[in-house]
Amino acid sequence: MVVTTGWYLALGAALFSMGSVGLLVRRNPLVMFMCVELMLNAVNLTFVSLGAELGDLGGQLSVFFVLVVAAAEVVVGLAVIVAIMRRRSGATVDDLSVLGG
């Protein structure tokens, strides 16, 4: 039995689905961010496995940029969360409707 690309793609699909369910179910903004990281990792796994299948380095290069963008996103997102929590501790995403206008 050989591990084919399909196995990695199936694992990535499962991980992506679990991340999306977590994003829909949880309402702690920090845990929602972690679920976004899960989805990003699923996509990274897909990129690398398809790059290995095609013998192309482009998959790994894409993952490199996804990592950089994820780091920037986490930095800004956590700063926003800290700024919100400083005004109202214990806020969930349901409470954060003041931007709705």
Binding site: V2, V3, T5, G6, W7, L9, L11, A14, L15, F16, S17, M18, V21, G22, L24, V25, R26, R27, N28, L30, V31, F33, M34, C35, L38, N41, N44, L45, V48, A52, E53, L54, G55, D56, L57, G58, Q60, L61, V63, F64, F65, L67, V68, A71, A72, E73, V75, L78, A79, V80, I81, V82, A83, M85, R87, R88, S89, G90, D94, V98
Partner: protein, 196 residues
């Protein structure tokens, strides 16, 4: 051997993801996230992406999760998420249905395309595992040097934005508009009395 490593890593990855979904305490969720990230790093090694495996451990598990933990500590760990209450009626079943249909769609795409993976290598050939880092560096700093510079700008903007957002303002000027200040109470203890 490869199959065994893959199966063990897949179990580690999926159980970690399940832990992130179900952990009540955000600290536990962050630790489960570390488990998932390590599993993905092992899979990267299995796919001969050694540089990305190292970066995965250092940047994700070493930096991003630490950042999460710092923020959790800063905001207090005593606020465990109560998964029992459901503020929006029917949200959980709906989320389960959406997740299942997403997984089903992805599985269908996989099953349809399982022996028909098309596409041509774009140009940069992939090396073996020992050659991986050199090839990645060469590609990044020749073909993609403009994109690398753009990520430098992006990271600078992110750092400046984070500092500007997290700065504690002193003085009479408030950063939020009036609507936000009126709706968001500064002191939660004081808010219980006059909150309608």
């Amino acid at each position: 051997m490869e199959v065994a490593v893959f199966i063990v890593s897949a179990v580690v990855v999926l159980s970690g993801a399940l832990g992130v979904l179900l952990a009540r305490n955000p600290v536990h969720a962050a630790l489960f996230l570390v488990q998932t990230l390590f599993g993905v790093a092992v899979l990267f090694v299995l796919l001969d992406a050694t540089f990305l495996a190292a970066v995965q451990v250092m940047v994700y598990a070493g930096a991003i999760v630490i950042l999460f933990l710092f923020v959790i500590m800063l905001l207090g760990v005593d606020r465990a998420d109560d998964l029992g209450i459901e503020p929006i009626a029917g949200q959980r079943p709906l989320a389960a249905v959406v997740g299942m249909s997403l997984a089903g769609l992805l599985a269908t795409v996989l099953l349809v395309a399982v022996d028909g993976l098309t596409g041509a290598p774009a140009g940069t050939p992939i090396g073996d595992a020992g050659d991986n880092t050199r090839r990645l560096g060469e590609a990044l700093f020749t073909d993609m040097v403009f994109a690398v510079e753009l990520t430098a700008i992006l990271l600078t903007v992110a750092v400046v934005g984070a500092v500007a957002l997290a700065r504690r303002l002193s003085g009479p000027m408030q950063p939020l508009p009036v609507v936000a200040i009126a709706e968001v109470d500064d002191d939660p203890d004081e808010a219980t009395g006059d909150d309608s």
